[in-house]
Amino acid sequence: MLFNSFTYMLFLPAVVLIYWAIPGRYRGSRATLLLVASYIFYMNWKPAYGLLIFALTVINYALGLALEKFAARKKQILIAGLIFNLSCLCFFKYANFILGSIFSGVHGLSALFMPDQADNWTSPALKIILPLGISFFTFEFIHYIVDVYRGSAAVRNFRDFALFAAFFPSQIAGPIKRFQDFTHQLVEKPVFSSANFREGMFLILQGLFKKIVLGDNMGYVVNTGFNHISRMGFVDTWIAVAGFTFQIFFDFSGYTDIGRGSALLLGYKVPENFNWPFLAANLTEFWRRWHISLSTWLRDYLFIPLGGSRVSPARARFNTMLTMVLGGLWHGAAWHYVIWGAFHGAGLVLSKEWTDLAARTPFLSRLRPHPVWHWSGVAFTMLFLFMAGILFRANTIPQALTIAHKLIILDSGGDVTTMFLNSTLPVSLTLYLLYLAARSWLDKAARQESLLNCAYSAARNYFEGSLPTQVVVYASVAFIILGFAPLHVSPFIYFQF
């Protein structure tokens, strides 16, 4: 079920209504309802894969209990659990990639020695449909068994554990939850809070705006460019490349907002995944602000176990590269994702070296506090992300190279530029920037004693006290989203991962 679908717009209010209609003393019934709703949500796509997530849940639940019970053998249990979870992920996500890569290698060698026979070979492919969200819930299971191994208490209640794994607002594309944060919310008696409800509605509408109005419309422009690379001119290529970086942000952060908002309507909090990533002044900072739940997972369960940065500089660089290459591979079973990861890894290593150099060099350290230094860093990071975006979006490496080449050749073109200018994007992007500016301005104003602050507080108090006004405001924003929506609904980009 897509968050931006008509079905979800019926499903969510129905779940929220039934959920809060169940009296608070039946806390267990509410959790059961959420579990059932989460399975309906998941099985709506492919019912058989409901069994897969259920089987994985049962096995990981048992592994957690076994880790606690058989302390003497917990290392073996952990290894077995890791192999099991990673094998599942590899089978569904990487089997064809591994087969294809082996085939390409063997085929390449054969072509050298038996050119006539090699021509008749066809690449083997298994008929596997990637279960939605497998990369996300597998990482949650791994986090669970590792944390129990490290000493956290296992979850005793199977329903609570199953809900942690299947919770529909974060089931398909994260954020990757931590069980300690989630299950303690199940223990507490959820109380309906109008502040949570307002925040939830606000996040859902903001997410839909990002996804539908900005991300999907941007997607049309970007796809036109990437599907007709030869027709793109200089400006077209820059629009398509920059557009993709923003498209993926709007798409993914929109998804996260809708997920977090949906969870809040049910009284749950799921972690934040983005924190103004395009304002990062270097790549290390970017990864602290972008897909936070994945980057912290990679840090805690891969980078630090490898030794982190408290090792020799060479080893620390290797750890960073390996973490990012595997992070790239996590995104998709294709070589361009691996190269994208390696590109980011190299960027992180260089970024770290540059920061160290700037700290050591007196001339550079004098420049560092200057705003120009900061904003140059922001611009350079952005440029790096555009380049990395080409590797992420292009279907093949040669295609990525052609696009990169077009960024520096002053060709004429115009299709993508015309399409961008003809679309609703100039208006909707302006609207979004105005919204961000107003929000940051009002946040600042709220901290000061001023007339504006008084007016803002009065308006806010009125809004919070008037349900009719709230309903009208939500409906108005919904109308704006519908008005700017493209004709065709697009799935979320991160669903494929």
């Binding site: 502040a195 108090n461 700017f484």
Partner: protein
């Protein structure tokens, strides 16, 4: 943020002993009404500025089933972009007078969305481009005569609708030349299968009698006459409200994208779908033959008013078999009946940059310009 959080907490938990006063119903109602009115005004203004919700441009018509809303401002974004208004006759054209001024040669263009050309600005559509070219040429030659190319193109129109349109509306403009821009499905959309009668759009359909005469089947329009009756409120909303446009656009998008929505809509409108419409009293029709008869009838109409018909065939760049068949049939008919026939397929296929002539399904600016270039010598 901390200040806000503190304020929220204070408000969320009323003090002990504090009595929460429930607002009287009239106040809640008044607030809702006021907030709604303010929101509607703001949204309408914003949508008008941003060109949103202006893709709604049809209204029911008792002769044609549907027609353009006269003087309606349209911002079209589904493919390409245009932002201008229909004229007071509901034509995708500049304002025109019914009476023809002396020394003016009038050319009327009939067709579907390809002629309507909402994908490009009005001044770039081929009828306007053709008019400008012909007038420029006449001026250069020092001639006093003027040309007016009137665009009656309307998205989704079939040949049957175009014939009715000519007879009820276009003939009043006394055109000297009528260009029928024939598209692939124009004939097929003029006939109706028995199984589709309950769910097809109410519009004129045609069939051939056993004697081979062209007959109109208006049973569906009669059965659904209530839908074609003018409704002042709906009519006003269609013309004036962008919000109404957004709602309709959303419903259309949902019916394209969401199977569950389609099922729900079918369930909600099941009574309408089950309405009794008399089955056709004629056998299944051959659309090509009906199309040919419709062109013959249009030709007879045009020549009887002293005009001349040109049938311009949509470029068959994809090699559609239906259109290929019709090309052969209509070119023979043109020779027999003596109307003009122009097939655009070859020039479009042989064009050096043919990809640039079409946006996705419709002509680009370059495509319209090329069309006008091809049509101009033919008009002479």
């Amino acid at each position: 943020m901390q200040t806000i959080a503190r304020t929220e907490k204070t408000q969320a938990s009323p003090k002990v002993g504090e009595v929460k006063v429930r607002k009287p119903l009239w106040r809640t109602g008044g607030e809702t009404l006021l907030a709604s009115l303010v929101a509607i005004c703001l949204l309408e203004t914003f949508f008008n500025f941003a060109g949103i919700g202006q893709q709604e441009f049809f209204e029911p018509d008792q002769d044609l089933g549907a027609r353009h809303i006269p003087s309606k401002q349209v911002t079209w974004r589904m493919e390409g972009l245009s932002r201008d208004s229909f004229n007071s006759f509901g034509m995708r054209d500049y304002e025109r007078s019914l009476a023809k001024s002396p020394g003016t040669t009038r050319i009327a263009v009939l067709g579907d969305s390809a002629a309507e050309g909402l994908q490009v600005p009005l001044e770039d559509t081929f009828p306007i481009a053709l008019q400008n070219m012909l007038n420029k040429e006449a001026k250069e030659q020092g001639a006093t005569k003027r040309f007016e190319v009137l665009n009656f193109g309307c998205a989704g129109y079939s040949s049957a609708q175009e014939v009715v349109q000519y007879e009820t509306q276009v003939a009043k403009f006394s055109p000297d030349i009528v260009v029928l821009f024939y598209n692939q499905k124009d004939a097929a959309e003029s006939v109706i299968d028995n199984s589709m009668r309950a769910i097809s759009d109410p519009k004129p359909y045609c069939y051939l009698s056993p004697a081979g005469e062209l007959k109109f089947d208006n049973a569906i329009m009669e059965a659904r006459a209530d839908e074609l009756k003018p409704d002042p409120l709906l009519s006003w909303l269609r013309r004036e409200s962008r919000l109404y446009g957004v709602i309709n656009q959303t419903l259309f998008s949902l019916s394209v994208n969401d199977k569950r929505f389609v099922k729900m809509k079918h369930w909600l409108t099941r009574q309408k779908q089950n309405r009794k419409i008399a089955p056709a009293a004629y056998p299944p029709q051959n659309p090509d033959l009906v199309g040919a008869k419709l062109i013959e009838r249009l030709n007879a109409d045009v020549t009887s008013s002293g005009g001349r018909l040109i049938v311009m065939m949509f470029p068959n760049t994809a090699g559609y078999p239906d259109l290929k068949r019709q090309q052969v049939l209509f070119s023979k008919l043109a020779q027999k009946a003596g109307f003009g026939y122009l097939d655009l397929s070859e020039p479009f296929i042989n064009h050096k940059h043919k990809q640039e002539l079409i946006i996705e399904y419709h002509f680009s600016k370059k495509g319209h310009k090329f069309l006008a270039d091809l049509l101009k010598p033919y008009i002479h």
